[in-house]
Symmetry: C2
Subunit: 395 residues, 2 copies
């Protein structure tokens, strides 16, 4: 018998690109490390009992429906509940305006595929969410990075020249990943005015809007320019990431294109988890649950802010989030947080180096992202103390 020959590799151009694995490798954490590197919500905050109850109801009431194929747009029951929640927050929304997706990440991929041709201009915050860059990268846009200040994205960056011909601006106005910053109502309004003035679309990613500590954040950008805003939401942070459920609220023509594209990509999102989620919402099972999640996140954020205040050497600054899961730390300019990550690991503490959050060549290396939600307050203090020592040795 002749030897079997291995097939000749024949990847697409897209799949032939080397993947940047620096960050991924860093995130393979040895045991005993205090990890501030995660982006996971706290499992302590999952409404397990509510979901168990909803499971039973759905199987008993509409089991066959829940297990069958569904429509590409999503289950009407869930779309209605999401529309109802949006309406309650002050922006009247019909279920027809809602498309269910398999997590926000899929929304990013869908948006990339319906808008971006190779070389197209896309505006992103600097820094911006790395998952969005990963999704957009598949369609090879040219990024224009918009500088952020201590209050987050500044609409002053949206000049006519910057906006001209851009496919869209991707923004996270509330509790930004990675900075944790929330932009003001005034900035939101101005951003929408600029979008209208320069005929630009806004992709508003809002995964953390429900995770506020003391005060509800300003309204969605849809408040000021509904015809230009493609709003992304997710159930991952208020219900369960393991359901992989997100949604898009957008003008009708955008939703048409998304549905057409999604049909070819995965037919539709799982019926079963959609109906369970709709059941949880319809019984207002989260009414008592969400406040406790908010309280937990607030406590953890405060623990980390206190520890930073207590331990960090002079020259180091950080953001003060009022919602969400992250704090963004800035080292003196000459320092390199990617390189320092190995030292940090040796001191049993992990973070995500900031460079992952910059588009194209706009990279800054003297930042890192801390997540505080899955670590207990005492461990947060210990981890920040270790981290401060690592920095002190290098500063």
């Amino acid at each position: 018998m002749s030897t079997v020959q291995e097939p000749t590799p024949r990847w697409s151009t897209l799949a032939s690109k080397p993947s940047s694995s620096v960050i991924r490798d860093l995130l393979k954490l040895p045991a005993g490390v205090i990890s501030f590197a995660g982006g996971l919500p706290s499992p302590e905050g999952f409404p397990l009992d509510e979901i168990a109850k909803a499971c039973q109801t759905v199987i008993a009431k509409e089991g066959k429906h829940a297990l069958q194929y569904s429509m590409v747009e999503g289950e009407i029951a869930l779309r209605r509940e999401i529309a109802r929640r949006e309406t309650q927050k002050g922006i009247p929304t019909e279920f027809e305006q809602v498309q269910i997706v398999s997590g926000s990440q899929q929304a990013l991929d869908l948006i990339a595929r319906i808008f971006i041709d190779k070389g197209d201009k896309v505006l992103v915050e600097s820094p911006t969410y790395m998952g969005a860059l990963q999704a957009f990268d598949l369609c090879e846009p040219e990024y224009v990075s918009l500088p952020c200040d201590t209050e987050g994205l500044n609409p002053a960056a949206f000049t006519e020249e910057v906006c001209r011909g851009a496919k869209f601006a991707y923004v996270m106005p509330t509790a930004s990943n990675p900075t944790g910053l929330t932009i003001s109502e005034e900035r939101r309004k101005l951003l929408c005015e600029k979008a209208r003035e320069y005929d630009m679309l806004l992709v508003e990613d809002d995964p953390y809007g429900e995770l506020w500590y003391d005060q509800q954040p300003p309204a969605s950008l849809r408040q000021w320019a509904p015809e230009r805003v493609i709003r992304l939401g997710t159930l991952s942070k208020i219900l369960a990431p393991g359901f992989r459920l997100g949604y898009v609220i957008a003008p009708a023509d955008v939703l048409d294109k998304i549905a057409q594209m999604k049909q070819a990509m995965d037919l539709h999102t799982a019926t079963f988890t959609q109906l369970i989620s709709a059941q949880v919402f319809s019984e207002d099972l989260l009414v008592h649950h969400l406040p406790s999640v908010r309280e937990r996140y607030k406590t953890h954020a405060k623990a980390m802010l206190d520890a930073l205040e207590e331990f960090m050497p002079e020259g180091v600054t950080w953001t003060h989030p009022t919602a969400g899961m992250f704090i963004w730390v800035t080292l003196p300019e000459k320092m390199d947080a990617t390189e320092m990550a190995r030292d940090a690991l040796a001191h049993k503490v992990a973070y995500v180096p900031g460079e992952a959050f910059y588009a194209g060549s706009a990279v800054e290396k003297n930042h890192f992202r801390l997540s505080f939600v899955t670590v207990d307050p005492e461990r947060i203090r210990e981890g920040v103390k270790n981290l401060a020592e690592v920095i002190r040795l290098r500063i």
Copy 2:
């Protein structure tokens, strides 16, 4: 206040293409129609009790894990169960060789994106599964259509010229959608030999392999060329389509590219439904369930074959499936099944016109696909009788 201006549309090239809506429009069925147009499995065959039980177990045993983010490759518990099932069918498989996807449709999209650049050669059966064409179309390949005979795909079509430079051949060797035909062990072997001879990859789509009537179909193509076969499977036909769970079994380098691509597309497939499915499999809850599904499909297939025999006029032929959900009907060459579909609807019966299943310009119009699984045997007889009348009027 000035009037709000609508945004200027700025779709990608991909999203700008008109979608062929002939078929979609035809499938919007009025009430009272006997539909043989569906591709849905029978909900009577869903193991509702088994799934309800598995839900409770998973929530009680590992609820927090089931609701949390997971790995892009999929939950190990489910990958193990799938590997075990493959191994039981005679092809030793490790869980590392299994990637979980959000339904087989996503596998098709993933494969397109990792292999196909615009204009690349892709081989498909003629006719082939329309969902595959929809997914591949997004990457704009050039199709080469391989003719099928009454025994399905004939490996004689794989000449050196046809295979040279092709990214892969997409085949459905068992209970093909749309023809219902299963190719023999001899043809499978020959196909794999050709693949080795001409250095070609084979994408083996096997959604219906468990739905055999009397005899288990021949082995997966992996039996004869494991290093060249990318095998796609799904839980949609044996467990629940509403879970949207499929899998890919492939060589390591292909799995690496898939995982990298999937990460950017939707992070991972839902944890919750993966663990429920793993639980159903691990308790062998399907052992008693699958035979009853097979029996149901066999009964329905026989009812339709009997009715075709009884009512169809001379000049009409059809396939005799031994597994799966479909029968492929061929009209005399001059007839147009797409055009005839409206008449059929007027006679309260629906089918899928064959033209949807052809790639590029290889279209043949004198075929249609019948599905028998969601219609009761008496209604099958009535529907086929109506359909025969429509044909008789035109033949």
